[in-house]
Amino acid sequence: MAKARVYVTLKKSVFDPQGKAVHEALLSLGYAQVADVRQGKFFEIDLQGLSGEPARQVAEEVARKVLANPVIEGWRVEVEGS
């Protein structure tokens, strides 16, 4: 069984008001080092009977079709396990 991790974030060109609110909260707590915050979503997906490239393909497909909205979001897929 493979485990896929999918990270979904707003595209760089898209303003992220939630990330900005978190950023401002961190600054108000005194974390002056924090230069930027982008908020996103994280999915862990167990893929039965799949590994390697086929597992990656399925994870990529569900990320594109369902987990992310390509109009506003980008995504990154990691797959581990055999």
Binding site: L10, S13, V14, F15, P17, Q18, A21, V66, L67, N69, V71, I72
Partner: protein, 233 residues
């Protein structure tokens, strides 16, 4: 004329929509459960507001996979009038029937307030017969209504005359303050290329009777009734 109001788990404007079409506009109305694929011979379809599937994943993202959406897409392809209000608009975007996507409101807050929207087009199923420039007052109630599309796409929508409503002042002026959720080009509603699918964030069904503070929304629903009659003919 018969209006089909689609009911998803989490829809909460379905009964208001049904009420207005039936008792205010004097049309037939019927509920269509999201797992059904039979549109019951409806002359127009409304996807009402609410929080379908609790807005899990993204607003409208799960509802678009409901069985009824295949039938709604086919109905739209054949020219049938389809109106999406608020969450219904978001579902139509997720389904690819309308362009763009909704971001969190620019100031992050959920907004439940009356707004003024200006009619930009008189050639859609939701605005035929209204004068361009008419300002209608009705409530919004959303956390994600900040219309976004890539700048090229927004330009294309403008060039094709597909911006149907914009947030303005009561007098119809564009101001940053009037654009309450920070939408690109103050867009409150858009249509597809064929102009038979329209989505808007404000709630016409909540402002269709003077007793409720404004009857501005009724004009949109009455326009839709006229459009149904034309298509049905």
């Amino acid at each position: 004329m018969k209006v089909g109001v689609v009911v998803f788990p989490g829809s909460n404007c379905d009964h208001d929509t049904y009420h207005v079409f039936k008792h205010v506009c004097g049309q037939q109305a019927t509920f269509i459960w999201h797992k059904d694929t039979d549109l019951q011979g409806a002359d127009a379809i409304v996807l009402p507001g609410g929080f379908s599937y609790g807005d899990y994943l993204r607003t409208g993202a799960i509802a678009r996979f409901s069985p009824v959406m295949q039938s709604v897409a086919a109905f739209a392809r054949e020219g049938g009038p389809v109106l999406g209000v608020c969450n219904g608009f978001q579902i139509l975007q997720e389904a690819g029937l309308l362009p763009g996507a909704m971001l969190r409101n620019a100031r992050v807050k959920f907004l439940s307030i009356p707004v003024h929207i200006r009619v930009e087009r008189d050639d859609t199923i939701a605005t035929a017969g209204l004068a361009v420039g008419t300002v209608l007052t009705m409530p919004i109630a959303h956390g994600e209504g900040n219309f976004y599309a890539e700048p090229d796409e927004v330009k294309r929508l403008e060039d094709e005359g597909r911006v149907v409503f914009r947030y303005t002042t009561r007098e119809g002026a564009l101001t940053d303050e009037a654009n309450v959720n920070g939408s690109a080009h103050a867009i409150a509603g858009v249509c597809n290329r064929e102009r038979n699918v329209v989505g808007l964030m404000p709630h016409p069904e909540r402002a269709a009777e003077p007793e409720l503070g404004s009857a501005g929304g009724r004009q949109i629903l009455e326009a839709m009734v006229r459009a149904m009659a034309v298509v049905a003919r």
